[in-house]
Amino acid sequence: MTENVLINISLLILFLPLLGFVVTLLLGKKIKSIYLFEVTVLTATLILSILVAFFKLSYFIDSKIITEIEWFRLSDTISIKLGFLIDNITVLMLFVVALISALVHYFSIAYMKGDERYNRYFAYLGIFTFSMNGIVLTHNILMMYIFWELVGLSSYLLIGFWFEKKSASDAGKKAFIVNRVGDLGMFAGILILYLTYNTFSFDQIFNSIAAGKLPFNSDFWLSITGILLFMGAIGKSAQFPLHVWLPDAMEGPTPVSALIHAATMVAAGVYLTIRIFGLLTADAMMFIAIIGMLSAFIPATIALTQNDIKKVLAYSTVSQLGYMIMALGVGAYKFAFFHLVTHAFFKACLFLGSGSVIHAMHHEQDIRNMGGLRKKLPLTYATFLISSLAISGIPLTSGFLSKDGILASSYAFGSLTGYWIFPAVGFFVALLTAFYMFRLVIITFHGEPRDQHKYEHAKESPFVMAMPLAVLAILSVFIFYTPNPFNADQGWFFSKWINSPTLSAPNETRFDFMKSENVVPNNSTHGEITYSEVYTEAMHAAHFPAMILSLIMAITGILVAFVFYQWKKVNVEKLTNAVKPLYTFSLNKWYFDELYDKTFVAGTIGLSRLLGWFDLKIIDGAVNGAATLTRIFSSFIGAFDNIVVDGIVNLSAYMSGFIGLIFRRIQTGKVQTYLVLVIFSLIILLFLFKF
């Protein structure tokens, strides 16, 4: 097993799903069971990515494998390269994507049964997995941008999969267009990077930054570049203020929501931010932390009042992604990635669980019509409960470890810089999360059935749907990440697999605690490995209080949910009436959609109308005027042609005819006449030459 073998297997992992997509799409109409090919291919991808992860983490744990080939060359200086960057984060992410994708494939076999575009659905899953693997594997930001757009495309296709429904096709368009806004910024960032460093490759860019080369030679522009690149993450990870597309994306099939809009694609934004972490300055990180904080808080408050089971989960996804982004903003690089992984598993489990519920209830999504499903769907209930505990941050789950890590980091950040707002919001959101998740669990699974008819018909899902639920629920347990359920630092995840990032942003632009005065610079990587001592101490100090606080928050949230909905000690209706304005504000999602409709959408339509008017009146007028002018001019030219040019031509023809008429008299046809002419000419010539 050498590095080359790893690279070749990675190539297979990348292209196998593409093969699945092409074959399934082309043969989908002819062969009814071609989806099995796609499922097989994904299984193979999963096995290969387990292999890669295993070998990378056991034999090449410290190496960063980079390979590249030239794609095309525009001149001696402009050469565009494709390549892979395989480090520990890459292989872990590959494994997460492949596992969840494969499980979603299995789940979909039963969930999508009977759909008229069954095979096409699997083909789309294939191209999504291909694009996602591309994002994960790439070593340069241009290739990442290409695959970034490809996941956007597959997300669009899958959200609008049931395009006969207007809401679904609208949601697809909304997701696509809202993502464009963020991608615009990302593209600008990529252009700045290329202008400055003449390369797209991450490590070369980092090396140049560490060597002191900055965009436009200023720290300010480095921050701007970081923020612009992060805009791509805002769009893709549905961060405030572009979070509006994700809840609408729930119009797509539920397994898709689990795969794309909960576990993997929306995490691509976090992954991007992880990849560019080295070039972020303190200002950019502050911006990221604020965006993450708002994205954690606002959707959490919205999720409190939603009644659609998938909408609650969607808002909780945005909120959890906000956590990850905030973690990156406060420098908790490792915990952000850790939360990405754990969240991917338990959120996929929650979504698939909701899919199982929806399937059992014959496409009923409103939790007010559910209730008591615990008895009918015991396995779904169990897995849903485990994942809910994980997302709420209850000990012995993976979510506790990662969320606690993020909260402790923000706490340490607060104590180091004085921005206590981040930990405060973080802890409050933890309370809200626990509350709305258990509100969902209780209303859906506990109590008495509210729709007796549908309840009677509900039955537990078949094996292919139950198995993924079980796998994902098991992966939400702490033991896969660390032997100590209260401290993730002792687990293999942190002690061996994930290192602190190499920072390359200039020292003076970093947060104080990230400066590298005390650390000997490592010349080969142009940076140092860890943050300062102060940070380590602050983290130690934060660990215990953060853990206790987050535990209190989670338990309070769960207890309140039980008091409200299970034991009904408090009359919820009375309470909502008491805070009616707040309740409607939350129920209507902070009126974001209405706000955007009134401003951006209406503005765009107004602008289009204006431009349309301009087109119709001014441009068309100019074009028509030009046409009229041309016509007049042409008629002049035509007249000139007819009279003058044709006149000359006809005149010369007439002249020729006239001359011919004269000279034809000479041609009598009598040989003797010719002979006389010849003789006379001869005599004349003789005289001429003689004298």
């Binding site: 041609q667 046809g669 009598k670 040989v671 002979l675 003789i679």
Partner: protein, 103 residues
């Protein structure tokens, strides 16, 4: 009366030539035209002989004269055949009526 010299021969040949031309141009009958042609050929023969006699060209003139006689015989045969054919087709031997080249 001086001795007969080159000039006398040339005058005779010139007269013959002119008469030949005259015959060709003025006669309507194709046979007459042919006879004009014979006259021109013979005037040329006289020239050849005269120059051989008075010039210093060896026997070439004699030879060419003999050659011209042979040629004239061949020419007469072909020309008469043409005339016969013209008569067959157009029922005339008048050259001024043979003007189908005109249009």
């Amino acid at each position: 009366m001086s001795e007969i010299g080159l000039n006398h021969f040339l005058v005779v040949s010139t007269l013959l030539f002119s008469m030949g031309i005259y015959a060709i141009v003025t006669r309507k009958n194709a046979i007459m035209v042919l006879m004009g042609v014979e006259l021109i050929l013979n005037s040329a023969n006289i020239n050849f002989i005269a120059f051989t006699r008075y010039g210093n060209f060896g026997l070439q003139g004699h030879l060419i004269a003999l050659f011209v006689i042979v040629l004239a015989a061949a020419e007469a045969a072909i020309a008469l055949a043409i005339v016969l054919n013209i008569y067959k087709t157009l029922a005339t031997v008048n050259v001024d009526e043979v003007d189908s080249l005109k249009d």
